[in-house]
């Protein structure tokens, strides 16, 4: 039995390894990892909805997009957010993501299942339409080219320094979301995922809980967008389009919904496969597609579900019997 403390230790070791190994690899790896970390924040924010609350959203790119566009517009049009005020932009990006989610949530949260999926998809596409059409602000199809990263004591043009900045945001987001999902509020989301009606009868205003979760996910989506804008140096409607939402969703499912870590692994695999395979073979998209299909068919719990699967397969029912036996043995004992 793997205890919670051991799991946390494993994640910490993995993070430490990442912080040491990546900067000592080539510049390509540094850039790739920085990008993957931005998307990992987005995927984790979606995991709060999909994995913990049971709401499959297809519009998460909208919050990512508004965060990215906000950063780009402020930097290029107003020269804002290129010094210490970068931190203000981070805050504003999260607030804008949260505000947009608060508005969209009014329409989306009343629905569940596939209807929720359709509404979030439609709302997400509205944001894409805005990015695509509002030429004077967003630059339309061309997007916005940003010149230079913020400078505040740190030299962020150095890719390794910038990697550490994104890494720090990533670790902080992960820690905050980890505490969130284990807090009374986070556990209530799991209850809603399992059986919403019962939660209402137990005294929870389930609409409000889902609405708050939606807003929090939006805020982290906005943060991911702000970081992405500076990572990429270019923001375009491609960041807001449906494909980006789908990518985030697939990252969560691939890694394992409801685990947070799974979203990070999913993000790493998608970016890794996409970047490396595309340099090797022209049919790399088929390989990515095959990975998705196989995961959904044979690993509905994602890659994070593999250990449990192996345990189940090796025990093949034995483990369940033994728990029942011990339970009975304990029950028969006079206490």
């Amino acid at each position: 039995m793997v205890t919670q403390k051991f799991k946390i230790l494993m994640v910490l070791v993995a993070l430490l390894a990442l912080a040491i190994i990546v900067p000592n690899s080539g510049s390509f790896v540094v850039l790739l990892t920085t990008r993957a970390l931005c998307f990992a924040i987005l995927a984790m924010s979606l995991d709060i909805l999909l994995g913990f609350t049971g709401l499959a959203s297809l519009g998460q790119a909208a919050y990512f997009g508004v965060g990215a566009y906000l950063t780009a517009v402020l930097a290029t049009k107003f020269g804002f957010g290129l010094g210490w005020d970068f931190w203000l932009v981070v805050l504003l990006g999260m607030l804008l993501g949260a505000a947009l989610a608060a508005f969209f949530g009014l329409f989306a949260i009343r629905a569940t299942g596939v209807y929720f999926l359709m509404i979030t998809l439609a709302l997400g596409q509205c944001v894409w339409g805005l990015a695509y059409r509002w030429n004077s602000v967003t630059g339309g199809d061309n997007g916005i080219n940003m010149n230079g990263r913020p400078a505040f004591g740190l030299d962020l043009t150095n890719e390794i320094t910038f990697f550490y900045l994104v890494f720090a945001f990533f670790v902080a987001s992960m820690a905050i979301m980890y505490v969130l999902v284990r807090s009374p509020f986070g556990r209530s989301l799991e209850g809603i995922r399992e059986r919403e009606l019962r939660m209402q009868i137990l005294g929870y205003n389930t609409w409000l809980h889902k609405y708050i979760a939606f807003i929090i996910a939006g805020a982290f989506g906005g943060l991911a967008g702000v970081l992405w804008a500076h990572t990429n140096g270019h923001v375009s409607p491609e960041n807001v389009v449906l494909t980006t939402s789908v990518d985030a969703l697939l990252m969560v499912v691939l890694g394992g919904a409801g685990t947070l870590v799974g979203a990070v692994i999913g993000s790493a695999i998608v970016f890794g496969l996409r970047e490396y395979l595309s340099t090797l073979v022209p049919w790399w998209q088929y390989a990515l597609g095959a990975v998705y299909v196989l995961t959904i068919l044979y690993l509905p719990t994602g890659l994070m579900g593999i250990p449990a699967r192996i345990r189940q397969w090796r025990g093949s029912g034995k483990s369940e019997d033994s728990t029942k036996l011990t339970a009975k043995a304990l029950a028969s004992k006079p206490s």
Binding site: P184, E190, L202, T206
Partner: protein, 257 residues
């Protein structure tokens, strides 16, 4: 039946229904049901399948809106309130079809139930396991029901009888003043049924219970008063003996009309 709003003793009923009706299109599932439950009352509702018993519970707990009539909890008109606000007044219910959180452990199920009425359910900056008082309360509840040894078992791995029992534990977790039990003995063996009856009779005598049940042994042991529901209407109300010997009740159950 309930023409006067205040009772003779001046005490407010825990739950009062006044001319409650519910229609689904042309189907009248509940017709003019009036009922009054005082603190500590043990009341049962019986009736053939499709009589509208569970619908009545869904109206009382706010899952369905009432078509007409009023629902009063502790003297307050809650007819249009959502479920969670009614629960906050001191009401709890169990479900006929087991309605637990299958992928969570027994302990987590109980923790969720306890947290339901505490303002700290919105706290997100502190992990749940740091709330000592909630854990102690959960342990106490599980100990009372002899469930402590299975607290880390996932609920989907429990037997049906154990799940039925856990249903009631979740109902009791919020310290309700009135408990609505929807067929607590559904699908239990006769031995388990007797266990369940004992458990129900051992509950706090100040707790009001409204019980739906098909198992007449359970009903006659637990309830002081029985109402018979037929096609959504209260046909007869009386003591267990009266109901037992009523010709009309026998008629509807045996179907000789």
């Amino acid at each position: 039946m309930s023409t006067d709003t205040q009772t003779s003793g001046g005490a407010t009923p825990v739950l009062e229904l006044k001319g409650l009706c519910k229609s689904f299109g042309g189907l009248h599932a509940t017709r003019d049901v009036s009922l009054r439950i005082m603190a500590g009352d043990r009341k049962a509702i019986i009736g053939p399948n499709g009589a509208g018993k569970t619908t009545l519970f869904n109206l009382i707990t706010g899952i369905y809106p009432a078509t007409s009539g009023n629902i009063l909890l502790f003297g307050q008109d809650v007819t249009t309130w959502p479920s969670h606000r009614r629960t906050a007044l001191g009401m709890a219910r169990t479900f006929q079809v087991t309605s637990l959180f299958p992928k969570l452990t027994v302990l987590d199920n109980v923790l969720l139930a306890i947290k339901g009425l505490r303002p700290s359910k919105f706290v997100m900056w502190r992990v749940l396991s740091s709330y000592r008082d909630v854990y102690e309360k959960a342990h106490q509840l599980l100990e009372q029901a002899n469930f402590l040894d299975r607290k880390d078992t996932e609920v989907r791995n429990l037997s049906h009888g154990e799940q039925r029992q856990l249903e009631i534990i979740l109902g009791l977790a919020s310290d309700p003043k009135i408990l609505l039990l929807d067929e607590p003995a559904a699908g239990l063996s006769s031995g388990e049924s007797i266990e369940m009856t004992k458990f129900l009779m051992g509950l706090d005598p100040k707790l009001a219970i409204l019980l739906i049940e098909h198992d007449m042994d359970v009903v006659f042991d637990v309830a002081d008063e029985i109402s018979v529901l037929h096609f959504g209407e209260v046909l007869e109300t009386g003591s267990p003996e009266q109901i037992h010997s009523s010709a009309r009740v026998q008629e509807i159950y045996l179907g000789t009309d």
